[in-house]
Symmetry: C2
Subunit: 401 residues, 2 copies
DNA sequence: ACTCCTTTGTTTGACACTAAAATTACTGGC
DNA sequence: GCCAGTAATTTTAGTGTCAAACAAAGGAGT
């Protein structure tokens, strides 16, 4: 193993990568940093000297050695940089400010109507307040949207559920906010968070599958988020699973999402008389928890469909791990009995042991993900984030200023 | 667009990348090379000076200019380097020697029995003859196998159909042959060939799907071949498509391959009395070509299954293009009527126009692919090929010697 | 023929990164 | 307390790449 994240950084990426590493790891020695990033200790000495002088990094205690010069640990100066994250949903915008080490500073929500023709400008206004409060220390703004984005770099959004076609979220925000702005699909932002603070620290290829209103999937392949040719990779909600199933929002019939998305589950439950015509999903979940086997069946069957569909994706992508998250996870205990056997049944003997990690859901997770777009920029050695990612790195570690 | 293939090369990768580029392009000027590789013209001048002195590259004619200093084109010296490619099948080994520009020099076949306990050594002996014939100019050996490989770098092969479990093809060949040896799944080698000489010149993410004895898939994502956590990405032949279908070689029932692999097609044809108990696929194809609608139905239904399965993969991976190839492609005209509508039906409006490229099949294609593993090494800036890839680059462009 | 323009290719000085040697700061055995 | 051993860090000298200035080689207009 040469480097922990992607290829070894160069040029302006070196100081950024060091700061990024220190943000996501415990305080490390210079030699450790060098090993992790594939740099020579000499370079780390030089660059950290500069970062210390600039007040971004500080020396911590020396650790006792086991026969050798003790390492002087380096850590980030608290509050040296802040990322702003925002997610857009059908009725509001959630905002977080996050420190370099991933800890959440503030969390707020604002009413928002994406259908308005002036939506980008309204979003910009919501963000502007926060941006001004943060001031100098702002590294960048990450925005997650439930749709596909042409590229993080530019940020034109297509989100059918909002009626958005090539809506210039990125350009408008950039013009208004005077800060680097990275826009991405919301599930991809969760993957970015995993990449930096979660499972990505130990694995290089994995899937992040979300269960909630829709069914989403983001993928980190060989340490990089994969977005596809048109930014719409991971649209697994519309995989066909039945030839005559329910009608989906996309117009087709029998999509996975139409079966096991929140609306699909509810429809099934109503058809079977488990909840009233005006009943909600919470009712179904309560029934399942109370031991109602018919209610449990709804979830079990959903788990089975999900497991079968994922097994195809796992065979195709051969990930190390699958991470499950999303608002729907609170009912996972009832999905699991259907899910596990369906998933494992078709996996070749080699992958039958595929670990599936179920993450508890937190309300600020979407927005935290969005902020992670910014915090992942230091590791974007391949340059997928383009100019915006570059600007984040510049704010983080440029030698001038 | 910054660079044509992956990220910009560094160090020993620079001369190799230049040679690689000249091998896959028409002769180019220094400035063109610099643009393609993301290097400065200054660097290209320096490195090519060296390559010219070493007799690997030569100056060609000047090209008339359109209002500027005319460009002096650079091209490869013919025969400056040769790659050896080999594919292993159930009964033989096919060998090609390929020039740097991709042209095939020789093609031979040798009987081979992979079930023998001494298979790696026997393979080594077959290759040794050719290696000695080539001598000095050999850049490396590429080997394609119908199974999964732990990494190109090491080359332990798992191939259930051969009864191979962690068979040390790479290590044994390396010990015997004294040349860089790259081992990979056979479908991945086809993807490597596309990457270097085919569709990869114009696209960065695509699928290569093979139809033949089995159903295979290789994927190039963001310009790199993706191999998965255990080297078995692309095992789409075992995606479940029916709950009570025919038994597959993998032990499960209802796998895609069991339905539409060569054996599956034949089984269906026999069940329907279209060919005799001892009849072969050629009989079915002849019947279909002669207008037998029952025979055509077998192919059409197979096309439908393939299209449905691929639509799921396309939704997941959002590739720019899908390339179809393999021995089974000679019957494609009869697959297509089922395939096209099934594939497009479920693609979101944005991807309905997904181009599907059907490549005619050539007998030496597997072996050419294997050789491409070597010829793709110069572009492996990420270092996936590890030490072996590095050794190929060293032979191609090292400054010493 | 002369001048200006355009593009290619080369030279030069600066700079980032490195390998290797030197230095520092400990531990552990005596 | 002294010495050998060990590992982190720093220094030093050197290499590869680049930006910018420069040289070369033509076209097009006058």
């Amino acid at each position: 193993m040469v480097s922990t994240r992607g290829s070894t950084p160069r040029g302006d990426g070196v100081p950024a990568a060091i700061v990024g590493l220190l943000g996501t790891r415990k305080p490390s020695s210079r030699v450790d940093i060098a090993r992790s990033l594939g740099l020579s200790p000499a370079t780390v000495t030089q660059v950290t000297r500069d970062l210390i002088a600039r007040g971004v990094v500080e020396e911590r205690v020396s650790v006792p050695s086991r026969g050798g010069r003790p390492a002087k640990l380096l850590g980030l100066v608290a509050g040296a940089g802040v990322a702003l994250g925002a997610t857009v949903t059908a009725d509001r915008v959630a905002l977080v400010t996050v420190e370099l080490d991933g800890s959440v500073r503030t969390w707020t929500q604002h009413p928002f109507s994406p259908n308005s023709p002036d939506a980008p400008r309204e979003l910009a206004e919501i963000l502007a307040g926060e941006v001004n409060t943060i001031g100098e220390r702002l590294l960048g703004v990450g925005v997650g949207v439930p749709g596909s984005v042409d590229s993080q770099e530019s940020g034109f959004v297509r989100a059918p559920s909002f009626g958005w076609h090539a809506v210039p979220i990125g350009p408008v925000l950039r013009k208004t906010l005077d800060a680097p702005v990275l826009v991405d699909n919301d599930v991809n932002t969760l993957a970015a968070a995993e990449q930096v603070y979660g499972i990505g620290r130990d694995h290089s290829s994995y899937l992040v599958v979300t269960i909630g209103k829709g069914i989403g999937c983001a993928m980190v392949l060989d340490k990089a988020i994969y977005r596809g040719a048109t930014g719409s990779a991971g649209e697994i909600g519309h995989i066909p699973v039945s030839s005559d199933g329910p009608v989906c929002g996309c117009g087709d019939t029998g999509c996975l999402e139409a079966h096991i998305g929140a609306a699909g589950l509810l429809r099934t439950a109503r058809e079977r008389g488990l909840v009233g015509a005006r009943g909600r999903l919470a009712t179904l979940l309560r029934a399942a928890r109370d031991g109602d086997t018919a209610a449990q069946d709804v979830y079990r069957e959903a788990g089975e469909l999900l497991g079968r569909s994922l097994s195809g994706i796992v065979l195709t992508l051969d990930p190390e791990v699958v991470v499950l998250m999303g608002e729907g996870m609170d009912a996972w205990e009832h999905w699991r009995p259907g899910f596990e056997p369906a998933l494992r049944r078709c996996l070749a003997p080699t992958r039958a042991e595929l670990p599936v990690v179920v993450e508890p859901w937190r309300d600020d997770q979407w927005a935290r993900g969005a902020a992670s777009l910014v915090l992942a920029a230091p590791f974007d050695t391949a340059g997928n984030g383009g100019e915006q990612s570059h600007r984040v790195r510049a704010r983080l570690g440029s030698r001038e200023t």
